[in-house]
């Protein structure tokens, strides 16, 4: 380790929390846009980001009356950045809602199973959306046609006959990942394929083979790109 390395290490440590949050939010957004399944809700991060956005909006509202050119330009910068943050958050949430809409019943069971862990799958508002949307849908189905079926055929989550009615996301889909740390040997289940992933590498792999190392779902040694 030479002096440059030491200096760079100090630089990493001195990165302000705001900047680190932006980096993490960006990473979460890309991951959610790319991953085949919904990722755990990053509660701490979202709480602090949303609170800061709220404060910044109040600041802008406070100062909009000030027409002095200098302050005005500062305000333009602040607002431009605010819009960029709002875009990130909005696109992140919408990508999640898309997944919730696509696989509601599967996500519901997964969320219930994750409630005891540190990071449950959904936020409380997402869970609320999921349950109320589902109850609206099922009452609509039963009043429009399901109600006329025999009772044994009315279920929406039937698993008889070895085939489950509950749709699941395709976990074997290929994804692009970048290694943030050395991962070691990765083994693709069901094939005889093995390879070593080193820090900085970019790989195309099955999501199911890499999930245990991904940011959000595993050790955080690789990120989705």
């Amino acid at each position: 380790m030479d002096i440059d390395d030491l200096l760079a290490e100090v630089a990493v440590d001195s990165t302000p929390q705001e900047t680190r949050d932006l980096q993490e939010l960006t990473r979460c957004w890309v991951a959610e846009r790319v991953a085949p399944e919904i990722l755990p809700w990053p509660k701490d991060l979202m709480d602090s980001v949303l609170e800061r956005i709220q404060r910044q909006i109040e600041l802008v509202e406070d100062q909009t009356g000030n027409m002095e050119p200098k302050t005005n330009f500062k305000l333009i910068i602040i607002q431009t950045e605010l819009e960029r943050f709002k875009f990130l958050v909005r696109s992140f949430l919408r990508a999640r809602i898309k997944k919730i809409d696509a696989h509601p019943l599967h996500i519901k069971t997964q969320h219930a199973a994750s409630l005891d862990t540190l990071y449950p799958l959904l936020s409380s508002t997402e869970h609320q959306y999921l349950t109320s949307h589902q109850s609206l849908l099922s009452s609509h189905y039963s009043s429009s046609f399901l109600g006329q079926f025999p009772a044994s055929l009315q279920r929406l989550d039937d698993t008889t006959g070895g085939i489950s009615m509950v749709d699941k996301p395709e976990e074997d889909k290929a994804v692009f990942v970048r290694a943030l740390r050395d991962v070691g040997e990765v083994f693709v289940e069901g094939t005889d394929r093995k390879f070593e992933i080193k820090r900085g590498d970019v790989w195309v792999v099955r999501w199911s083979a890499i999930r245990q190392w991904a940011v959000g779902t595993g050790t955080g040694d690789v990120e989705l790109i």
Partner: protein
Amino acid sequence: MALPLPPGLTPPEIAFLCEMELITIIPRQRLEGLELLGGPLKPLNPPHRTNIPLWLALLLKRQRRANIIPPPWLNTHSLTAILDHEIENEETFSPPPRLPPQPSNNTLPTSPPFLLTSTADAAPDALPYHWLELGEMLLEAASDDFEEPDNVRKLLRGLREVRMAKLRSGVDVLDSGGGFKMNGVGGMEVGEGRSFITGVIDGLRLDRKIAASREQQRKDRDREELENGYSGTAGDYDDDEMDMQ
């Protein structure tokens, strides 16, 4: 309300990511420090250089409040060397910039677009992850800050073509298992190649799955026939099936 886009980033979204890259500017006007959401912005004092995110650099440039210093890899000399390297090595992309040392504590390592690969003191001999987007955006908004903007543009186009050809020829080695190394690939190239590459891998996997289940079915049927004593006709069946395929 749900996002109507398929998985993967669209080109405008990749450009949005790229706009977070830090870039070096020489301010032409003073500006006090600002508390931004993504961290504090240092005061701008002409003529002292400073590193700011690309989106802000473009905003200042458009209002003629700053000049941009193009990154060291974005000039004719460096790009020519990189292009030569790309042409000599037909199989792989030119290597990405050297990684910064790994943080020793538990903080996650940074990655593009936050790696400082396009500031004035970045490495001159390697294309960073967002090379294409960044080059295009700077040439568009700040061509007067380049020495030879037209030649740089030409070289970028050359690089893009050489590398796209590699991306396409790489399809031959794709198979259903995945596990395909692509070091040095750029952000926009991932965006462009994603649906095709993952589509081929996923398609091959489904194909094999169907073939496997068909094989299993045939095994089951053969066994059944053997048990029922119709083994003599099994061969004819197989021939029929082969014809149909």
